[in-house]
Assembly symmetry: C2
Homo-oligomer: 394 residues x 2
């Protein structure tokens, strides 16, 4: 039978890039393609103890229906944390708990964009967010990245030129895939531009807490005196992605709309996951855990960067990172990126071809993304040795 | 600031009915308005033990990212169960795990309906599904209910008349809110009509396993020789709604589209929830648990029906149920339903006004819905006494 598909979804056909990614789970494959936290970064003992306590103390609460906005104690906990540590909850804001930060992108697009309305985003940017925008037939407008974040002159051109711009999407810290962090000056200027043109900002910050070097830069949300910033936070990198817990901080009228949309999608986030996240933040050493995982990622990032320099130095250029999970590696023009990635996967090293992160996958792209959080140290060394040998053959 | 909203969401403004429902959580309120499982129906000891085992045996699997389609062992478990017990997995079908059955309605609508396309549904029907359809600006066409299910003559009229019908939505067992079960003859005839007119069926079956009397009737999916049925199943009533685990059984091309949509929404369902559901079905006495909860709901349903007869007999008519969680109660024409519900809530008994379940809430409606699974026996008795006294004043 031929099945009819909505226009939104027909535009979301699996891409050629997925074909390469499929190999990632082949036995023996060294995957630099994922974005998974390191297994040793999970607070297994804490979660085990917390979960046993939940089932000893309030098993019915953990199993019964809950409210769409989220488990009230977790909302309170996130509010206190984001307020005290990051000054990122304003008096007009409300918090809702979501099934991972990904859901914030979906709820924001569904609530705010009619089909054909414009979303401005960094180019390249996270494929999961691009696909969320695409799944509502948003018109995407990409702004090239500079070393300190989006090119603001081009952003202003776009704000002048584009019609019905609903929000500007940015990952200000250790952007996926480029690893770039937006400077404080650019954050201020971006906020001013959004305000001037009456456009919202969707600030996606999954990696902010895993800065392992350098100084923390204030969130754009912390500058939000006008109620124009939607902040998406996540427990995926600081606790566990499998539990699927994230949150939105946004002005109350927006949270109301997101709530109506979440109600018809999944009713509420797994209450057990929410209770675990709450107890982890309030009853365990959350700061100590962050220190621990920063140390893990600092080690892995430096190992990867050192190997990149020693094995592929002179051939590959990349942006040095102070946090996050990824390096964005550019090949010289004479090497065909897709050819390189295909040959790498045949030698059992999986990379993500850079065009996966473009607004139009068919645009030329000479970069690929590597992840250093998932592979072991031995895999990092072996995989980089293979890539180093491979690049010599080009 | 005035925030722009998408057209989809502006149509989903909170209704007057929600105002009444807000009172449900007032202290002292006897709520007949919810749809929560009875607390004593949760297999707390089993879940406690299972969860401890998961964190002892495979903690990293429970915390790491997983695949969008669902935890493979759970897919296998659901497949075996639905195949062996209900003959409801066809050779062309695939299964995906969702964040509750509600997500199946959302994924189906997002994947299958352009704005303005038609969804045919029973009238009245479950508000969560109606709102999922509305949230994509589907055009809703309601088919009145008879004692054995949808009026099929009216269904055929609609199939002839309506344009771009994408699916027929039905809850064949103990329909929410009416409690009506579709007869075998009507299931066959409904299937034949859908086939004839080239329209899909979305079969939502959250209550099928809590039949406490009478004979089980085959699912419409079991008749699906043509690949036209999407089946939505749920663990909410047979294990726990808080864990948010449901599933879709549908032809592979549809599951592919749902998967793309789920990927951009929540990436995957909580893996811990999925592992708990899998272990509960495979390592615990699932059939014994079903027997136990059927006994609980049989007792509560009969208590509620007996009280309805003794306290409100002659004034209120309702459809006798053999399963599910709800009674649908019709008031005589001289009593204003909304007035009755409002006065009830002021006397601390929360009901759901029937127009919550209509396609157009402003249509006349003389019925309300009561739930018997959430209140205790004492609350059922007290609440029905209050309603009995109240109806005398009309």
């Amino acid at each position: 039978m031929d099945y009819f598909c909505s226009e939104r979804v027909s535009g979301l056909a699996p891409s050629v890039i997925r074909e390469i990614l499929k190999f990632s789970s082949t036995p023996g494959m060294i995957s630099f393609a994922a974005g998974n936290p390191a297994p040793e970064a999970f607070p297994v003992e804490d979660v085990r103890r917390i979960t046993a306590e939940i089932f000893a103390q309030s098993p019915i609460d953990a199993l019964q229906y809950s409210v769409t906005e989220g488990y009230p104690p977790l909302i309170e906990t996130v509010s206190n944390y984001m307020q005290k540590k990051h000054d990122s909850v304003k008096s007009f804001d409300r918090i809702m708990i979501t099934a991972g930060a990904q859901q914030v992108m979906e709820l924001a697009t569904k609530s705010l964009c009619n089909e054909g309305d414009t979303v401005i985003c960094e180019a390249p940017t996270f494929i999961g967010s691009l696909n969320a925008f695409r799944s509502y037939n948003a018109h995407l407008c990409g702004i090239p990245m500079e070393d300190d974040g989006m090119d603001l002159a081009k952003l202003e051109d776009a704000l002048k030129r584009e019609k019905n711009v609903r929000f500007i999407y940015t990952i200000p810290n250790f952007q996926n895939p480029t690893g770039i962090t937006m400077s404080l000056e650019k954050r201020k200027a971006l906020y001013a531009l959004a305000k001037q043109y009456g456009v919202l900002i969707l600030e996606d910050n999954p990696y902010g807490e895993i800065r392992f070097e350098g100084e923390n830069i204030p969130t754009i949300k912390s500058m939000d005196t006008d109620g124009i910033v939607i902040y998406a936070g996540s427990f995926s990198k600081v606790l566990s992605p499998g539990l699927r817990v994230g949150y939105a901080i946004a002005p109350q009228p927006l949270i109301s709309k997101f709530t109506v949309c979440k109600q018809v999608s999944d009713v509420h986030t797994s209450i057990l996951s929410e209770m675990i996240a709450d107890k982890f933040m309030t009853e365990c050493d959350f700061e100590g855990h962050l220190q621990k995982i920063r140390k893990i990622y600092k080690h892995k990032a430096h190992l990867m960067m050192d190997l990149m320099d020693s094995r592929m130095g002179g051939k590959v250029t990349y942006h040095k990172v102070q946090g996050g999970l990824f390096l964005w590696c550019s090949l010289p023009k004479e090497i065909d990126m897709m050819d390189f990635c295909t040959k790498a996967v045949h030698k059992n090293v999986a990379l993500v071809p850079g065009n996966a992160f473009l607004i139009d996958e068919k645009d030329p792209c000479s970069a690929f993304r590597v992840n250093y959080s998932t592979p072991t140290d031995a895999q990092l060394e072996k995989g980089m040795e293979i890539l180093g040998d491979l690049i010599q053959t080009f």
